[in-house]
């Protein structure tokens, strides 16, 4: 079976044409005039915006920048800069008041205080999975880490109630963004563009009816490495290409790898490709210079996450 380090490299020009045809076709099929896209300041939404401009022209693409008080400030700045370079119309809506009205921060902080009673409004928090799966095996269990605002960090393994409470509250950030995207989409008679890539789809790294609540997913067939390749091709700004991918939903900054994937992106995509295409373990070891035990561990983790998140990728089951 063909498997080498460049297996994910694609013909950028023809791939862009392929995706643009898809976007045009979907907008036509849904009988809408254009597309709304949430610009997070990350690479996936930046690429989507660039593709939508290629497909529909800048006048039919509307960018929505939706920061909240815990977003990294550079996110909105980079999103706005990229939108300016694309020449698209944007609007920035601070979703903090909506999240406060829903109780996102209060509900989450109550759960955090059940673990760390000293957690205050100056503190920052994040949750992470055990680091570096390829070096050290372990189950996927979440640890809560807090910073008191002065650099003093504490961490503790979460119990189920606290984990579920923190995740449920935090996921309301993505769901609030979805609500805003559809408000503007319906106002303008546009569709909503998704930004989830294949790496995220396979591992279930998105929020159902949050960033997964969209009309089309133009990147869901592209691994993250391919997202970078096309972003270079379409001239996404350097600031976005060079920043570390992050969910940007936690006040204590966390990378995608630390939060969920447990494997660096440069290895993750090749291993995911091997997993999806049943590449023999020996061949993966030889190509990637990894031990069989490491490859098998990664495959087991992909299986576990894929199976645990199956329901996220499904429409609601119905009776005939």
């Amino acid at each position: 079976m063909e498997f080498h380090k460049d297996i994910l490299k694609c013909d950028s020009k023809s791939e862009v044409e392929h995706i643009c045809a898809f976007i045009q076709q979907q907008v036509r099929a849904m009988k809408r005039g254009g597309i709304v896209i949430g610009l997070s300041g990350g690479i996936d939404s930046a690429l989507c915006a660039a593709l939508c401009v290629e497909a529909l022209g800048k006048d039919r693409v509307f960018g929505l920048i939706l920061p909240e008080k815990e977003s990294n400030p550079v996110s909105a700045e980079y999103a706005a800069k990229h939108a300016r370079e694309l020449g698209i119309e944007t609007e920035t809506v601070d979703i903090t008041p909506t999240l406060e009205a829903f109780g996102t921060y209060r509900k989450r902080d109550e759960m955090i205080r059940s673990v760390f009673p000293e957690y205050s409004s100056e503190s920052k928090s994040k949750i992470t999975l055990p680091a570096d799966l390829l070096s050290k095996d372990s189950f996927n269990f979440f640890t809560l880490k807090i910073d008191d605002g002065k650099g003093n960090v504490k961490s503790a393994r979460l119990n189920k109630k606290a984990l579920n409470g923190i995740v449920a509250a935090t996921d309301s950030k993505q769901r609030t963004r979805m609500m805003h995207l559809y408000y503007y989409a319906e106002m303008k008679n546009y569709i909503v563009c998704g930004t989830t890539n294949k790496t995220e789809v396979l591992e279930g790294f998105f929020v159902k009816y949050g960033d997964g609540g969209v009309d089309i997913e133009p990147l869901s067939h592209l691994y993250k490495a391919q997202v970078y390749q096309l972003s270079e091709h379409l001239g996404v700004i350097r600031e976005i290409i060079e920043r570390a991918p992050s969910p940007d939903t936690w006040s204590f900054q966390v990378s995608d790898e630390e939060f969920y994937f447990r494997i660096p992106y440069d290895k993750l995509d090749l291993l995911l490709y091997a997993w999806q295409n049943d590449v023999p373990v020996e061949q993966v070891c030889e190509t990637m210079n990894l031990a069989a035990e490491q490859v098998k561990r990664a495959m087991r983790d992909f299986n576990a996450k894929y199976n645990a998140t199956k329901h996220l990728r499904q429409l609601p089951p119905t009776l005939e």
């Binding site: 999975l129 055990p130 095996d137 372990s138 189950f139 996927n140 269990f141 979440f142 640890t143 393994r157 979460l158 119990n159 189920k160 984990l163 579920n164 087991r300 299986n303 576990a304 199976n307 645990a308």
Partner: protein, 87 residues
């Protein structure tokens, strides 16, 4: 009820909706998707509450937790370590 039966009953009731027919002592929880990231936290809480020992983060490895037989061995080691420490 012995320790192994208590763990089996917990796993069957909490992760298999009461249907433990296909659960063998060596069935891998990870391979079969029986326990996910919240399931492992429930299992650890159960072990700590039921057997009275603490499970450290670095003990959350497949060798200790990935099947009924691995858990039985882990519980045995922890209980022995506890009684040795007490003696």
């Amino acid at each position: 009820m012995d320790n192994s039966s208590k763990v089996r009953e917990f796993v069957v009731e909490n992760f298999l909706f009461g249907d433990g027919e296909k659960l063998r002592d060596d069935t891998s929880f990870m391979e079969e998707g029986i326990i996910d990231s919240t399931g492992i936290l429930e299992l650890v809480f159960f072990l700590e509450e039921t057997f009275g020992f603490s499970v450290e983060d670095d003990e959350l490895v497949p060798e200790n937790m990935d099947s009924l037989q691995n858990i039985a061995r882990f519980v045995g080691r922890k209980m022995n370590a506890g009684s040795t420490a007490e003696a």
